[in-house]
């Protein structure tokens, strides 16, 4: 096993440009998806946390359940939407990085929204009376709380990033794993494994984990620095 790891890392070190192209695409797709999902998911989670409406409990249950959406099912669903034979075929988005971003956004959105909902709801208990007294109820109050607890929301965003960079099912189906166009780290690892080139696959896997680790470390340090200034 150690042999495989070492030879894998060695192989990876010699792959140069093509490897970094693949890494670049992986990061572009996953980071875009997480950014989009955060933009949509945080306000969505905050809104559900603060609003009171019939069926709210059911919505929360469904949102939490959607965190467990199987990537391959999402991929299939988006594929059927974007296929030429499907409703959005005109857009010509199938087998492009854009399609991969869409699929991953769908996958990650419930995670960020559900976790944000929980955090905002917990904080709302503390803030509600005072904010409503000042006249900041509803949407304004929700956004105020969201901004106030922004540092603790970072974990939700990182959970989303973890999910996006780790999944292979969705990007494989909507991207097609096309060499030089839609091939990313996870689909390359799957491909090399199925070709029986296990050392290379393992080496790529280690690179992927290292990159995600680096991203998490960077996010953590930025958060600490920013938090110091506001407490």
């Amino acid at each position: 096993m150690l042999d495989a790891v070492l030879s894998g890392l060695r192989l990876v070190a010699t792959l140069d440009l093509r490897l970094w192209e693949i890494v670049g695409l992986s990061l572009a797709v996953s980071l875009s998806a997480v950014a989009l999902a955060t933009l949509l998911g945080l306000p969505l989670g905050a809104a559900i946390a603060v609003a009171r409406f019939p069926g709210r409990q059911a919505v929360i249950v469904v949102l939490n359940a959607l965190m467990g959406l199987p990537p391959v099912v999402v991929g299939l669903f988006i594929y059927l939407l974007l296929s030429r034979a499907g409703p959005l075929g005109e857009l010509g988005l199938l087998f492009t990085p854009q399609a991969m971003v869409i699929a991953q956004t769908v996958l990650v959105l419930p995670i960020i929204a559900a976790l944000a909902r929980q955090s905002v709801e917990d904080a709302w208990r503390e803030y509600e009376e005072q904010l409503r007294s000042l006249g900041a109820d509803g949407w304004g109050g929700a956004l105020t709380v969201l901004w106030d607890i922004r540092f603790s929301l970072l974990t939700a965003v990182l959970a989303g990033l973890g999910r996006a960079s780790a999944e292979v099912g969705a990007v494989m189906i909507v991207g097609g794993n096309i060499d030089g166009v839609t091939r990313v780290m996870t689909t390359t690892i799957a491909l090399e494994t199925s070709k029986g080139d296990l050392p290379l696959a393992l080496g790529l896997g280690i690179v992927l984990i290292a990159i995600v680790l680096a991203l998490n470390a960077a996010a953590h340090m930025i958060k600490e620095a920013a938090q110091q200034r506001v407490r």
Partner: protein
């Protein structure tokens, strides 16, 4: 919020439109791609015509399905009966024969069914069933899978009835099936191309090869733009024309792994 969404969607669509450097989408099979043929072949075509070929590699069933949906411009698979049905149903314009490669039966060095060195695939399958030796099947509606089912039929075995715990249906591509066979020391039917580039062999070696019945014919079909007007008819036709032309055929013959030719061009005319 709504404004932001509209801008994002617009730039998404714009980017996708701009990304339309001249390219066609070809639906082919995982075994063809994993053999490395496309890496060898496509740059030549691209250089000659300036058309980028984007290959989506799936199982044969899925590749043809892509053609039916209009998600590909050309299909390039190896399942003659299915291809002819595809054209007959109006999804494809015309089928051209391109090349053939062959299947080999791989199996464990220990050879429990005693089929090694034989040139008779049908007899070998009968012996494997009799010995109830482990056999890994792709089971994924691929060209290879259909070929395997045909061979069982030729051996007079109704595999649906005859299968027992010795017959493993992996439902996956050639590589993963070989991984499984290597892991279980089982026999498996593989295309020569995938086998030659497969690195995780374990105890597996070639048990049976050279039987005429193991030959695997490839066909290329332009997707019918009458059914799907957006199909890139001209560029797709250029690809079909090139691959059956003397130049394309020579390029196919020139592809070798470890000095061995994998595909044998046989386009007519």
């Amino acid at each position: 919020m709504g404004m932001i969404l509209r801008v994002l969607l617009a730039s998404l669509v714009c980017a996708s439109a701009q990304a339309q450097t001249r390219f066609i989408t070809v639906a082919s099979t995982t075994s063809t791609e994993q053999s490395g043929l496309f890496k060898h072949l496509l740059p030549m075509f691209e250089q000659k015509t300036g058309i980028q070929v984007r290959v989506v590699a799936l199982g044969t069933g899925q590749a043809l399905d892509m053609g039916k949906r209009g998600d590909a411009d050309v299909v390039f698979v190896h399942a003659k009966a299915l291809e002819e049905k595809f054209v007959a149903e109006g999804f494809g314009v015309k089928r051209f024969e391109v090349m053939y490669n062959d299947f080999v039966l791989v199996g464990p060095r220990s050879d429990p069914a005693k089929v090694g060195g034989s040139k008779d695939i049908v007899a070998a399958l009968q012996r494997i069933k009799a010995a109830q030796a482990s056999f890994a099947s792709r089971g994924d509606k691929s060209g290879t899978h259909f070929a395997e089912l045909q061979l069982w039929k030729m051996a007079g075995i109704d595999i649906d009835k005859a299968k027992g715990p010795w017959y493993r249906d992996t439902g996956s591509g050639m590589g993963p099936t070989l991984n499984t066979a290597a892991g279980m020391n089982a026999y498996a039917l593989a295309d020569r191309g995938t086998w030659l580039s497969f690195k995780n062999r374990g105890e597996l070696v070639i048990s049976v090869e050279g039987d005429q019945r193991l030959f695997n014919q490839y066909g290329v079909i332009l997707v019918n733009s009458a059914k799907h007007p957006h199909v890139k008819k001209d560029m797709g036709q250029a690809f079909v024309d090139w691959i059956v032309s003397p130049e394309g055929q020579a390029a196919i013959a020139a592809y070798k792994i470890g000095g061995e030719q994998l595909f044998f061009p046989n386009a007519k005319g």
